[in-house]
Amino acid sequence: MSASLAPECNEVKERYDTCFLKWYSEKYLRGAEKDNKECAGLFNEYQKCLSVALKDRGIDKLLDEAREDNKENDVRLTAPRK
């Protein structure tokens, strides 16, 4: 799996990515589960680490703007299809 931009988050990121990939291929794609509960703890831990790094580098503000820009895509790509 790929590295994190913050080296201090690499270890927890690796564990989360592995957990997610297993869930994605074994459960999500098979329609078994819609909630990725089993990886939620690891995800929170990873985000706690990452959010500090994003803030320190000032990336959090850039992300807020990008999210705003992406709203149209969100509407278009999450709409139910016929």
Binding site: M1, S4, R67, T78, P80
Partner: protein, 190 residues
């Protein structure tokens, strides 16, 4: 504005491609040195549609052409891309949209990638990118920036295909080994 588009057919099922896509920039890809980090920012499955939405931050390290560097100055070594992706398992599509976070006041790069099945064993990759230089003034410089980025997209598209082919191949091998291992375990327990 310049538009770059590209289509590739992978000889793998959509399930395999959509899974391997999450490790596209991992160690199995030896053609993606320019991507140095991929971080997940948020992830959620929509209850009504079953669509999995993921936000990621992609960190790239790719030197800009010298003339752009001298024009813009500063450190251009690291750049960031915001990506939102949507997996629709019912319709078997993965759509990924991305935009540049770095130098966004000078140039806007919007990319959209779609993976969808062509048959049970084939998946199509459709990529399109819109590149718009925003700096006011000289049209020649704008064109230069757009052309230069368009060329970069072309180069990266070739590498992207080669690198992802390798990731797909490795994923299939590892998956088969894992299956074999589980089978052996089962036999040992019998």
């Amino acid at each position: 504005m310049k538009v770059f588009s590209n289509t590739v057919t992978y000889e793998y099922s959509w399930d395999e491609v959509s899974t391997a896509n999450w490790r596209k920039y991992g160690p199995w890809n030896n053609k993606s040195e320019h991507v140095i980090a991929v971080d997940t920012l948020s992830r959620r499955v929509d209850v009504a549609t079953g669509i999995l939405r993921t936000e990621r931050l992609i960190t790239c390290k790719q030197a800009a052409p010298d003339w752009i560097k001298s024009l813009l100055g500063g450190n251009m070594e690291e750049s960031f891309v915001y990506e939102a992706s949507y997996v629709d398992p019912q319709n078997k599509t993965v759509t990924m949209v991305s935009q540049n976070l770095t130098w966004s006041n000078l140039v806007r790069v919007q990319e959209e990638v779609v993976y969808k099945p062509l048959s049970e064993h084939q998946t199509q990759f459709l990529q399109s990118a819109r590149i718009t230089a925003l700096c006011g003034g000289w049209q020649r410089i704008k064109n230069g920036i757009e052309d230069s980025l368009c060329t970069r997209f072309k180069e990266n598209a070739v590498k992207g295909r080669e690198g992802f082919e390798r990731v797909l191949e490795m994923s299939r091998i590892v998956f088969a080994e894992e299956k074999e291992r589980l089978q052996q375990q089962k036999l040992a327990l019998m």
